[in-house]
Symmetry: D2
Subunit: 318 residues, 4 copies
């Protein structure tokens, strides 16, 4: 699929900023280091009314929004009332009975955090770890250190879809830095250093009422798109984590033809952890109503050893 | 396995309190209703230093602490640096490469929340839903409504193991109400209405350095044990959720011989959601050091439709 | 989905023949009892040239032909050269290394035998076993007794697609008894009592070069369709097993609107084991060429306890 | 685990015979090429009484005999009578209902054939294919070509356990060539060129009535053990396939300390396909009774693309 006209990331990002070494040679959580205890305490001030939002999608229904190539999750009961009713299993002493279940799924097949080693180029992961350390399981920069750390801080929602007066952004519609900042301005929310950025396109929420064929046809997601200015801004603002209601957190193909450039520039170079496939619709409605676009964001993916990513159900507490 | 000497729960709990109907006939989250916005706001006051703890266990290592009968989780890479290095797969345009993975696991095979319909007796789940509604998938009182709601409030750690001067409580060692309250007193922590109770036995932390054969031999977990007083106290205190570092949140067999009596009395009757298989050791060490045993507790299990339970990585923010 | 105009099988098959009790009240293999040692010895006579054909489809490619609602199989390496090359795993003493893998799949998600209890009506399985015995796992008439027994005898291929001068039969195209017998006549093959019947429509082979959307649109399979004469003929001929290159071995909806009528009449009533999703194209080409449409058929599905069905790779030896 | 005293296979097998190139540079089925049509026809002569034996183990029971490190298979119903009885699912038009199920398992976690690329040394698989071709899935010498080919020929059972007057051979008990030939002599069976050899130790059959702890303690399997003479004999006899009632088809550690030497000498060098984890007890009893130790052997593993191995239920027809 390599096209000679497509620039190599080694060229495109040759002078792009990195955070390698900034938090030590062994660091595996990257920009989460910006979530200092002081910032956690400060983020508490965003809690005013006590409203709680859970930001993941529902899965296990046979209609999970997954990236093409990943399979639908398969959840099955291994026990329930059935065998007891059929006389095939006895109650526990005293009379309790119970249900149990099993799942087979892609770890990135639902709302999830990526480990910083999920995507790389030039044979090298975030912080200089060798790409071969991913073989058979991520020895370095898996999602585990992120899960151990947790992602707690001031969350800011930038509801770009609403800012553009759209229910859902179009396929391949790009968000540049100017649009992002204009959205923040229009919302009247300040983006402070070390915050957790949530960008809403409406895409994932729309999945559940669209036909899969139409949804996946000519699949290019809307979202942020690479520019040197955008990357510098994320760097300067010390954005701790980027979460969106798309599967890949960026317009998946850049205008140059290069794919996943923000995965390269933000995740691999700057160590900014990505949280993907959120459903931000209910939170966005509430923010539009009360005008409060910041909140305490609290999320911790599952602690799966060596995993490329892990499911999570993030909380926004206003 | 039914022994005529073992009392039936229909008798043992004949006059025990229930919360059925209290929050409406359709309620599926039970005591989480006690986590009012006011209490969420009040819980914020527990955040003082900005320290964050993630309370789940690590899994996917081949040594997951699972209830006998549940299988170890199986996590495998579906893609990593290997196929790129072997020339079996091309990079994306621009040069990015990535890793991906898949897991097969019991939904209750790691730190998890139970749905309120996970355990029942007398053919009836929490709030009067029929047990047959569990067949093939929980139509009612699955973990999904809990995942949609989130569990956010004032958490209180009762480190009973430390209170008893033990690294780990003994097999089958029971915690009664008196011990629980003495522990709170000794710790100098107040248990307020509508809080989330975390009880530490040391069991799960010990799993990782014990031989499985020894750990599982004559397997009866230490923990809270049924008494009418204990149940009344949980009811009066409006405990919103019970989380422990054991697999079943209670001494699994009551002195009477009946099994899972607290699942029956607290979960099925009172609608108190259980969170199980936490690792509370690091949090407990910190609490012992700074003397602060309360914190903002923020947890949200995965939104798995119809599931009996779902994995979670709870946060404690001090 | 029940339509008042659709006849109930209890009516439609009220006077249809059954083999219940014929081989004992505990029998779980049904018409396989027709495969007597004498018939096995006789079938040997069909082996003339020593050609061997394997009749299952290839799966694990991401394009498995599965019945709508069943998921694609997921196969992944758990070990291969990668971790050895990356220095993450040491060779065995002496220097061997190895590869290993894992699969998650529907047991009926590839070429497979059904257990006789896979489909039923009127709350009753083959031989009178109660339908509730299927709950949680087939206690009776699972595929296991069939796997223990094996399916060995004289196989006869009826290449109906070729007989009709078609590469693939049309969606919903029905095969009646007359057509079936005319096909045998045209082929010059005798159908003897107690044989294993293979019926070719061309459907499964076509799957691999058709677009899934087109293949699954308005999905009604071509194949045998219910008539009292057809069922009587199967009964009289003591057909031991029916194998086809479709997913359901019959035109899935009968002209009356009733679904899976042959599953009811042949499998549930007569105990004729079904083998589904074969690829008969190479065998059929060979039979057309040498004019020999019979062979030693030897198949044994996997011995999966309590399973509704199990994968198999049947052999035809000419 | 490498011990300097352990010889490297590159040295130990430096002058050992190979079949590389013998059947072409692209050959992936190795010694199965010895199963010529003439030999298939000749093998038919072994069928005398029409008795059929199926040689795999039963699995999915929670007590599968698997190699240490492989997980137990997990089989679950995805549908059965339960949801119909509970009113959660409607019957098909006409009234049929059905059961369906799902499995997660190691492809080598039950009776199975290995692909010739399953084990290698010196970075090279059978026939000179590079070991890196295994990465992510076996591009060469997977089990698929074996499954496409089938394994049909004259089978010969050598019941070494019975020959040694043992129900089960001891842990680590070695079978050398002399013992093997003496067993054949005592049984009065001739080993002809191009046959399929079945060697019985009693191990797998014993698994089902032994405690797992005892069975797996100090786990070294009994079985054939490497000697230059043994390898030459397999080569000279053109043994097409080796099948045993153990998990690894050889005394897993050779006297020299090297592991899996016969995997190296027979599978990787000579291209002899291994079938493992058979249960030969019923067949052996019958052979002892009627004195006939040869039969038509017919087996075909599942056609799983790129798989290291695949389950199978081999047939012996006497």
């Amino acid at each position: 699929m390599t096209d000679t006209a497509v620039p190599l990331l080694t060229d495109l990002l040759a002078s792009a900023p990195t955070n390698w070494g900034r938090w030590g040679d062994d660091d595996e959580v990257g920009a989460l280091n910006s979530l200092t205890p002081e910032r956690v305490v400060a983020a508490i001030a965003c809690v005013r009314s006590g409203k709680v939002f859970t930001l993941s999608t529902v899965f296990g229904t046979g209609k999970d929004p997954v990236w093409p190539g990943r399979a639908q999750s398969q959840r099955y009961n291994t026990l329930d009332r059935g065998p007891f009713a059929a006389g095939k299993r006895e109650s526990n002493p005293g009379g309790t009975q119970y249900a149990d279940d099993f799942i087979a799924m892609f770890l990135q097949g639902a709302t999830h955090y990526d480990g910083l080693g999920h995507v790389w180029y030039d044979d090298t992961l975030y912080n200089g770890f060798p790409a071969e350390s991913t073989v058979g399981g991520l020895e370095k920069a898996s999602v585990l250190p992120i899960a151990e750390h947790g992602v707690v801080g001031r969350g800011v929602l930038l509801d770009v879809a609403r800012h553009l007066d759209k229910a859902v952004m179009d396929k391949g519609e790009a968000i540049d830095l100017e649009t992002l900042l204009a959205c923040a301005d229009a919302q009247g929310v300040e983006i402070t250093n070390g915050c957790i950025l949530l960008v809403r396109t409406g895409l994932i929420g729309s999945y559940f009422h669209r036909e899969p064929d139409e949804f996946y046809a000519d699949y290019i997601e809307p979202g942020l798109t690479y520019s040197p200015e955008l990357v510098e801004w994320f760097h300067d603002m010390e954005v701790a984590s980027l979460a969106t209601d798309t599967m890949a957190n960026e317009r998946t193909v850049h205008a140059s033809g290069a794919a996943f450039v923000l995965h390269a520039a933000l995740m691999r170079n700057l160590g900014i952890t990505f949280c993907e496939i959120l459903n931000l619709d209910a939170l966005a409605d509430d923010c539009a109503e009360d005008g409060q676009y910041d909140f305490l964001y609290a999320a911790a993916p599952l602690k799966v050893a060596q995993a490329t990513g892990a499911p999570v159900n993030p909380l926004a507490i206003k």
